[in-house]
């Protein structure tokens, strides 16, 4: 079966899941009492100095204009219909601009940060895993195992809190919580701007990568140990190949497969990590956006972010399966081969 057919089949299977998911999320988001118009009313009274009657009238017009009086299912149908027919994700009530704009602003940094952390974690994890497996039983292995245990179990959100405290209050860093310094905010991309960007986001990347690194390392170590015991490795050694050739030419490529399968699980893990850390650091990515949208009842923003995240995770899973199938000819794309 061709790759295209495999992809189509998997995508078709994902559609009902996405539809159900978006419906459930939408219902959940709409379930709490009160909507954005209530929020608007409070704001008008507290900050705009409007009387209760004026504020009520304003809230009423706002509800009518944005269709907030309709039954939830009608609102969902309108929102979902807009996405399918016009690619329109609705209108943010709080930010007063299309949701698509907000997603376009928030999602790329989130995915970029999560991917950077992930690539870094995987690359370093593989190296450390090879190091640990080839020195199995020595103090290097023991130390790396302890490191992996600590890395896997350190709660990222608590780590983020502590790092935030140290950076801001002990080291007086002013680079936390934003992507760029003021002077680079509107500047064209240059080496200086990239360095500035790294100086701002490295804590997020390091914390998000921390746990993933430990996971990759463990998996790599386990696999490589298995592979190193295989007969063909023995044969390669017996033929007199150098240890480096045996390990990097024969063993490592075959030990990588489970790591590819693990990518599907790793993506949600990394995205969750990025969200946790970004919420603590107040970095303008998806995490704080969802928290903020939920706090004021900005329905379409929250629902869209949830939908987009779910789709990202499903796509990640499909790509991981595809990658595995392409890498390992023994796994057939039809699936179900027992």
């Amino acid at each position: 079966m061709s790759v295209v057919l495999f992809l189509l089949k998997r995508l078709a299977a994902a559609i009902p899941i996405v539809v159900l998911l978006s419906l459930v999320t939408f219902l959940i988001i709409q379930a709490p009492p009160g909507d954005y118009a209530d929020n608007l009313r409070t704001m008008l009274i507290n900050q705009g100095g409007a009387s209760a009657a004026e504020a009520d009238a304003q809230a009423k017009t706002f509800r009518e204009r944005n269709g907030l009086n309709d039954p939830v299912l009608v609102q969902y149908a309108r929102w979902a219909g807009g996405i399918v027919t016009r690619g329109d994700f609705g209108f943010s009530l709080a930010a007063n601009r299309p949701v698509a704009d907000i997603v376009a602003e928030r999602l790329p940094p989130t995915l970029l940060l999560a991917l950077t952390s992930h690539l870094l974690a995987t690359a370093l994890g593989i190296c450390l895993g090879v190091l640990a497996a080839t020195r199995a039983g020595t103090w290097v292995d023991t130390a790396l195992n302890l490191f992996a245990f600590v890395g896997m179990t350190t709660p990222r959100f608590l780590l983020a809190l502590l790092v935030l405290y140290v950076l801001v209050f002990r080291l007086d860093s002013s680079q936390v919580g934003s992507f760029q310094s003021a002077q680079y905010a509107a500047a064209p991309w240059s080496l200086g701007r990239i360095v500035d960007l790294i100086a701002h986001v490295w804590p997020v990347v390091v914390i998000a990568a921390w746990g993933g690194l430990a996971y990759s390392m463990r998996i790599m170590r386990g696999n490589l140990l298995d592979v190193l015991n295989a007969q063909y490795v023995e044969t390669a050694r017996a033929k007199g190949l150098s240890p480096a050739r045996v390990i990097f030419g024969h063993a490592v490529p075959n030990a990588l497969h489970p790591l590819v399968a693990y990518q599907g699980v790793a993506l949600p893990y990394m995205v969750t990590g990025e969200i946790e850390v970004a919420i603590v650091f107040g970095l303008a990515t998806v995490g704080p956006a969802i928290v903020g949208a939920m706090a004021v009842g900005d329905v379409f923003v929250a629902a869209t972010f949830m939908l987009v995240l779910a789709i990202t995770l499903i796509m990640g899973n499909i790509l991981a399966d595809l990658g595995l199938a392409l890498l390992d000819p023994r796994i057939r794309l039809e699936g179900g081969a027992k």
């Binding site: 009902p16 899941i17 996405v18 159900l20 998911l21 459930v24 999320t25 959940i28 988001i29 379930a31 709490p32 009492p33 302890l146 245990f149 896997m152 179990t153 350190t154 709660p155 959100f157 608590l158 809190l161 502590l162 935030l164 405290y165 801001v168 209050f169 949600p268 995205v271 969750t272 969200i275 946790e276 919420i279 603590v280 998806v286 995490g287 969802i290 928290v291 939920m294 706090a295 929250a302 972010f305 949830m306 995240l309 779910a310 995770l313 499903i314």
Partner: protein, 356 residues
């Protein structure tokens, strides 16, 4: 044949392997300590966790002299820090607050109907204060609160994990054993649950709980939410194992000999799933403890008069206070210790459950 050699039971074999992991043993000791804290928390706490003193007191300095242990509480010196304009504190001239074992205190409730008027360690006179980890925004002793909070945080996690484990086991075993249409529909359900971005969903669901509900109801909703969303992963693993086990020769033999479904599930399949379930139980518990503290940090903690670690971390989310009073971060220590202990035990257990 010698008969005095007892056969090693499965449990003994697991224990022998488990004992070899020093990390696992250390974790086990900590877990036993935590169990004691869960039961005796208010008795072990040196102060009343709800009593209010001056807000944001720095940790007391503990010292020892010829009369035994004492605590010094920092006093303002009357001068201000030139940069932060915070009052400067000093321990010189501070009154020594005596600490005694079996200290008398106002009566408090230990557990259910049991009331006590003694604490394991406390100040020698009622009304004096000694803050091991400082005092929070309302002047309540952070260390005492952390100890008392163990009960709610751990019991909440324990309930959630028990529910998710039972559901996961039941659904997974049913799907794996029955197969066919039942399996297909259950797997679709699991697919949907697994595809939910979990963390944002918890945030969403948290907003769903009205602010005004009582603390008991809030905890019930929290437990229900976490349980409903948590069982899918385990059920998938259990289904896979059941599928594999159902094809084993000994199960086929049992079927051929006319064993009914009940017998096969209870006697042939369930025992082989137990080790996996046990490991998953131990490793899921810390994630729920952690989730509770994260949700607490986001403002979705249990409500007073209950105390949980998440509730204590709620104070941290203001950020501004961390700079002046870093000690309010100390509830983090309780969560760290718990998470590490459970993971250490779970890790060692995972290596040990397959002793053959």
């Amino acid at each position: 044949m010698k008969t005095d050699e007892k056969t090693q039971t499965y449990g003994r074999l697991v224990w022998r392997r488990f004992r070899r992991s020093w990390l696992g043993m250390a974790g086990l000791v900590v877990l036993m300590g935590l169990a004691v804290v869960v039961v005796l928390g208010p008795f072990l706490a040196p102060m009343n966790p709800d009593a209010r003193y001056a807000p944001y007191q720095t940790p007391s300095r503990i010292g020892v002299d010829s009369d035994g242990f004492y605590a010094l509480n920092a006093m303002p010196t009357g001068r201000d820090d030139p940069v932060t304009l915070q009052p400067l504190l000093s321990f010189t001239g501070a009154e020594k607050v005596r600490l005694t074992l079996w200290a008398r205190t106002e009566p408090y409730r230990l557990l259910g109907p049991i009331t006590l008027d003694r604490r394991l360690i406390g100040t020698s006179r009622i009304g004096q204060r000694a803050h091991l980890l400082g005092a929070d925004r309302f002047g309540r002793d952070i260390f005492s609160r952390g100890l008392v909070a163990t009960r709610v945080s751990l019991l909440l996690a324990l309930t959630v994990v028990t529910l998710t484990t039972l559901t996961g086991l039941l659904v997974g075993a049913t799907a794996g054993y029955m197969g066919g249409a039942v399996d297909r529909w259950l797997q679709r359900l699991v697919d949907v649950l697994l595809a939910f971005p979990q963390l944002p969903l918890y945030l969403t669901l948290g907003a769903l709980i009205p602010v005004t509900v009582s603390s008991g109801l809030f905890v019930a909703i929290l437990i229900a939410t976490l349980s409903v969303l948590g069982w899918a992963g385990l059920s998938r693993e259990i289904r896979g194992k059941t599928l594999m086990l159902a094809r084993m020769d000994y199960v086929r033999a049992a079927i051929a000999m006319g064993a009914d479904d009940r017998r096969i599930i209870l006697h042939h399949i369930a025992p082989n799933l137990m080790s996996h379930v046990l490991v998953s139980f131990t490793l899921t518990l810390p994630t729920i403890v952690l989730l509770e503290s994260f949700l607490g940090f986001l403002g979705l903690a249990v409500k007073p008069p209950m105390i949980s670690w998440g509730l204590m971390l709620q104070d941290v989310s203001g950020y501004s206070a961390i700079g002046s009073y870093p000690f309010i971060l100390s509830p983090v220590i309780f969560v760290f210790v718990t998470v590490f202990a459970f993971n250490a035990v779970g890790d060692a257990l995972r290596d040990a459950v397959d002793p053959y």
